[in-house]
Symmetry: C2
């Protein structure tokens, strides 16, 4: 496995504190210097306590030093007590790290509606802080996993403004997470020197083509969080909201986000295939996105891919019901490079070509609306009996 390193001035750790039976369940990311921090949170109106806490901390525009993340309990739908617990976790971690209590963000993932077991968590804190290390990224990635089958880390090195910059991110799976809601958590650290405004803008842009362009089962979690922290330790010329430096930073942020997002889809519960849906020729960007999301979100399309059945009628119908402008006589449907429908009629195809479709692990569905120049892509996975089984037979 590729060895990932943390950017300059960052330390990380992940330990087992006892929220889960055996596996690591508590992670910490820490920066020696205060960080510009940008974050995106779930738009679900039911939000976990730590999400509400972090949103309020970040509204203060303070620079952050650390984020502590537990798995095994989502601390969601836990009322006043849940919020008190989240605050207490942040304060206890800050005390142990000797930083301000407003400088530590808190995340949780796991079961909804159960009170946090604070004892093991608080007891584990000294050990966690002691374990902090420049080589701790893999442990931190392990500590945030729930039913993920593999660790998700991505990193890039690049030059910008006269310095070498490192960017490293970890994530845990979104969608189809047993036994409760699908939660996506992602933390990206960089030693780049970048303004708060530029960092915020870059995260939005990168998330649009990564975390916001994947769908597994259509359910939006109560805990979803994507965070990027920049401590400026690389000593580059400070990146502002425009220009070449920003473009390079954004390109790398997109690459790291995109790789993590793809890992999440590959790790979708029970998934056997990764489906890249592309809609092109749309009149507007919004139309392209709506149509791509509709195809990727269709249960019938997912079933067709699982069964390796190039059922183009389902794709056409999904586009038609997406709300995007579409003319069925202009629509073209392409699967794995083979055109099935064009100019208002089923295309003539050789049997060999038809049988080649959807056979691989990575498959492609393209709908060309032939109405404009806009394009969007969404990654998703198929659905299988394993998904149904995993998400049904969980005895409370």
């Amino acid at each position: 496995m590729k060895k990932h390193v943390l950017p300059k001035g960052f330390l990380a750790a992940g330990i087992h504190c006892g929220l889960k039976k055996k596996r690591k369940d508590l992670s910490l990311i820490y920066s020696l210097k205060p960080c510009e921090t940008a974050a995106l949170f779930t738009r679900n109106k039911v939000k976990a306590a730590p999400v509400v806490l972090d949103q309020s901390l970040l509204r203060g525009k303070g620079r952050m030093r650390a984020v502590i993340v537990n798995s095994g309990n989502a601390n969601c739908m836990t009322g006043v007590r849940g919020m008190a617990d989240a605050v207490r976790i942040g304060k206890a971690a800050a005390k142990e790290l000797k930083v301000g209590s407003g400088e530590v963000l808190v995340s949780s993932t796991g079961v909804i509606g159960r009170p946090m077991r604070m004892q093991p968590l608080l007891k584990g804190l000294p050990k966690l802080v002691k374990a902090l290390s420049p080589a701790g990224i893999a442990d931190a990635a392990d500590g945030i996993m729930t039913t993920d089958r593999f660790r998700k880390v991505s990193s890039r090195k690049f030059k910008s403004g006269g310095a070498d910059i490192t960017m490293t991110g970890i994530a845990k799976g979104a969608g189809m997470i047993h036994p409760d809601m699908a939660t996506m958590l992602c933390y990206i650290m960089t030693d780049a020197d970048i303004s708060a405004a530029a960092l915020k803008k870059a995260l939005s842009a990168a998330a649009g083509v990564s975390f916001n362009s994947i769908t597994v089962d259509g359910d939006m979690s109560t805990n979803d969080t994507a965070l990027v922290m920049a401590n400026g330790e690389a000593g580059n010329r400070k990146i502002s909201r425009a220009g070449r430096d920003y473009a390079v930073f954004l390109e790398n942020l997109k690459a790291v986000s995109g790789e993590l997002a793809r890992m999440i889809v590959v790790d979708g519960e029970g998934a056997s295939k990764v489906i890249e849906v592309t809609v092109r020729g749309a009149r507007t960007a919004s139309d392209a996105r709506k149509a791509a999301k509709a195809i990727a979100g269709s249960l019938l399309v997912k079933c067709a891919v699982l069964g390796e059945d190039p059922n183009w009628g389902r794709i056409a119908s999904s586009v038609g019901s997406s709300g995007a402008s579409v003319d069925q006589d202009k629509l073209e449907v392409i699967m794995d490079g083979v055109t099935f429908f064009k100019n208002g009629a089923e295309a003539k195809m050789s049997g060999t070509k038809v049988r080649s479709v959807f056979k691989g692990r990575d498959v492609n569905i393209t709908a060309d609306l032939h109405m404009g120049r806009c394009e969007a892509s969404v990654l998703t996975c198929d659905i299988s009996n394993k998904y149904i089984k995993l998400n049904s037979y969980y005895t409370t």
Copy 2:
């Protein structure tokens, strides 16, 4: 089985003409007198040729005499040829019935993207017309079925404006229809005398709480049609858009539509349970509807019901992501009469009560937002391995 009769002045028939291998595949409903006719069609922008044809016929505000419906081929995504075929079917049926060609509506359901086989259909027409009978409703209901496991007929008799009125409807399954898209077709006949405006208004109101309040797999078909024809043969005092007569008519139309809609859910492919989702205490009707649709549409909720697992976190999260106004500290989640979450905390429940939830064939999920007085209900079904299997392993 209950014997259903047609309203006065209506005849119906269903035969096997050869579009399908053995089962009935061609149905006809005919009125001796012209009918006020109201219809609702799919909002999918990819529409089957007969839907486009019917919409244009009905825009002419003419009164209708008949509707001819084939199963076995949806005549969708069939281009110019498909439209010519739909027109030809309507004209041929009109000629055989000796009525105007603008007085016959056409519907199709079945596979998408294949040209209609016109020969067997046209050849079957004389036999179909000859079979017309006041007792032909069951045959007509059979002729529109695709993979439906049972025939769907509903009827009501009631008094209005000094006369006995009959209302009889047939439908075919929506959702999870193998091997292609989910299509809902519904035709309701009545001998009531009612104005065109009142009929249109009543159909919209009835569909809102029946056909538009069910969801099976979230896919919207290219062929969905709900039609009501009124020929006035009962001789009642003409029903207009307001007053007691309208209220009685609407109540019965809701009952017939509701029963047909429920049958469609019960017959959902692979479904083992019928789920009634109710959202109450919403601030607006639109909020209630959004939240109910979000719960009913959640794959994770469906899985929970299949597994008889009262996983209330999934319900709360669906409400939260629905776009409806919700305060998680006010939200109450009730399953089969047992409150699981209230006042911001998990409720105390006996193990016996918890284990009783979701055990029956009919289950209930209620979310009380405690924010207002609006309410909405949606019917859906669970999802099972059988659904995945039916919709995946269909070899083209």
